[in-house]
């Protein structure tokens, strides 16, 4: 039994990070470079992303293949936002400069006819930060607490940003929907 249990200590666990990094560094760098437009910032974002990935190892270990890749892309983009924010020394640029959403019809009832394919079209019209927030919340099931940690903001603020991003999307869908109907 001891042998079996000790066997659990071995295996490929320890190689996961290294393997993942070497297999995906070019792709993730490309994501970061596309986002930041700078090799230096892209490398910085990649380093920050891996700090975050290591911190979220429990989440990582539950993912495999494409899901892991998609998740890491989201993390890298989060860090791109971070490094660019630091670079421009503007605080909470895109988050706080968002206008308050007013007058939008946000009842889920009104959205019932929209399937994923349609929603996707509108998603592409969202700003990067809103998309990132939605990825974390609705694709990877982050809690508000996890989002707050990832973005270095308060939990309350994270909740508000999720609400805003979702509302913004709904507003776009409904506005467009009314026009096209």
């Amino acid at each position: 039994m001891l042998l079996i249990l000790l066997e659990m200590l071995d295996g490929e666990e320890e190689n996961i990070f290294l393997k993942f990094y070497h297999e995906n560094k070019r792709m993730l760098f490309s994501v970061a470079y596309k986002f930041t437009g700078s090799e230096h910032l892209a490398e910085n974002a990649l380093q920050e992303a891996f700090i975050s990935i290591i911190k979220n190892k429990d989440k990582m270990l539950l993912m495999k293949g494409e899901e892991l890749k998609r998740w890491s892309v989201v993390i890298v983009k989060n860090k791109c936002i971070d490094v660019m924010r630091k670079e421009t020394k503007k605080e909470e640029v895109s988050f706080e400069d968002e206008k308050n959403i007013t007058g939008a019809v946000t009842e889920d009832e009104s959205l019932k006819r929209y399937e994923a394919e349609t929603i996707k079209k509108y998603l592409s019209g969202l700003d990067e930060i809103s998309k990132q927030i939605l990825y974390m919340k609705y694709l990877f099931g982050y809690s508000y607490k996890e989002i707050s940690k990832e973005l270095n903001i308060s939990e309350k603020n994270a909740e508000m940003k999720v609400y805003r991003a979702k509302n913004k999307l709904k507003e776009m869908i409904l506005k467009e929907g009314i026009i096209t109907l």
Binding site: M1, L2, L5, L6, M8, L9, E13, E14, I16, F17, L18, Y21, K25, R26, M27, F29, S30, V31, Y33, K34, E39, A42, E43, L46, Q47, F50, I51, I54, K57, E66, K69, R70, V73, V74, D108, L111, K112, Y114, E115, A116, E117, T118, I119, K120, L123, S124, K131, L134, Y135, Y138, L139, K166, L169, K170
Partner: protein, 260 residues
């Protein structure tokens, strides 16, 4: 059929993200050579990440293994003869000791800086006894590939290599003189650990060669102390120490070249 906007949103996000990744993968990825600084940081980050992130998990597994072994031992021992109980008790103790040794070994291997100091022959390991070598506000420090990265091109004829050790972005080479038996230790490390230098009763000289600043701790002639030259270049910290003539050490220091 129940409709959930959030579920549809999740699917939409999934599709969008996948499209984005496909687009990146299908386009030509930029020919980028990662900077040396980046690779060093990533290597360190990943190795530390592996160590720290899995150590808790490992420790937990070890504890579970130990506990179950002990319980198993007790259970079996209680159900068999007295003689067997004794044997089983010894076995359990041996297993527990092995596990303890395993845990201890893990801790030792992570104590990088202590190991390095011991291995490199830099005997100045106790913080309280030593003064920290600083270049203005920058503390010289270090980190590490398991291959030779730096090497002096110059070496006096009478010296030959007696010791070589290469760690993760660090390395040490020891030379001994056939004439007087003096040893010269050359050591390099990357910039994430601290180097301590005993500068008591030692004169500090500062000089420059080809844009690199060198700091020499020159021991009095005839004293039993070693002279030491320390410098910082390309994210590495270097040191050479010996009782040999400081002029020889300087010549060796100037000749150190990156061989990778």
């Amino acid at each position: 059929m129940n409709y959930s906007f959030e579920a549809e949103l999740g699917k939409a996000l999934d599709m969008m993200l996948q499209e984005e990744i496909d687009e990146i993968m299908n386009s030509e990825l930029p020919e980028h050579v990662f900077s040396r600084r980046h690779e060093i940081r990533m290597k360190k980050l990943l190795s530390e990440g592996v160590h720290t992130s899995f150590s808790t998990r490992k420790a937990f597994k070890i504890l579970v293994a130990a506990l179950l072994s002990i319980l198993l031992g007790i259970g079996v021992a209680a159900s068999v003869s007295k003689e067997f109980r004794g044997i089983l008790k010894d076995t359990v103790i041996k297993i527990t000791d092995s596990i303890n040794a395993y845990i201890t070994h893990g801790e030792i291997s992570s104590a990088f800086s202590l190991d390095e100091d011991t291995k490199t022959g830099i005997s100045y390991t106790t913080k309280t006894e030593k003064s920290e070598f600083e270049n203005k506000n920058n503390v010289f420090s270090s980190e590490s590939y398991e291959e030779k990265l730096w090497e002096p091109e110059y070496l006096p004829n009478e010296y030959s290599i007696v010791y070589e050790w290469y760690g993760d972005l660090s390395g040490s080479i020891g030379y001994t003189s056939n004439k007087d038996g003096h040893t010269i230790m050359f050591h390099y490390e990357n910039i994430d650990s601290t180097l301590f230098v005993n500068n008591e009763s030692i004169e500090l000289e500062q000089f420059e060669n080809e844009g690199v600043k060198y700091f020499a701790f020159v021991a009095d002639e005839g004293s039993d102390k070693e002279s030491m030259i320390v410098w910082y270049e390309d994210d590495f910290i270097f040191s050479i120490h010996s009782k040999s003539d400081i002029k020889i050490l300087k010549k060796i220091a100037y000749s150190v070249k990156n061989i990778k």
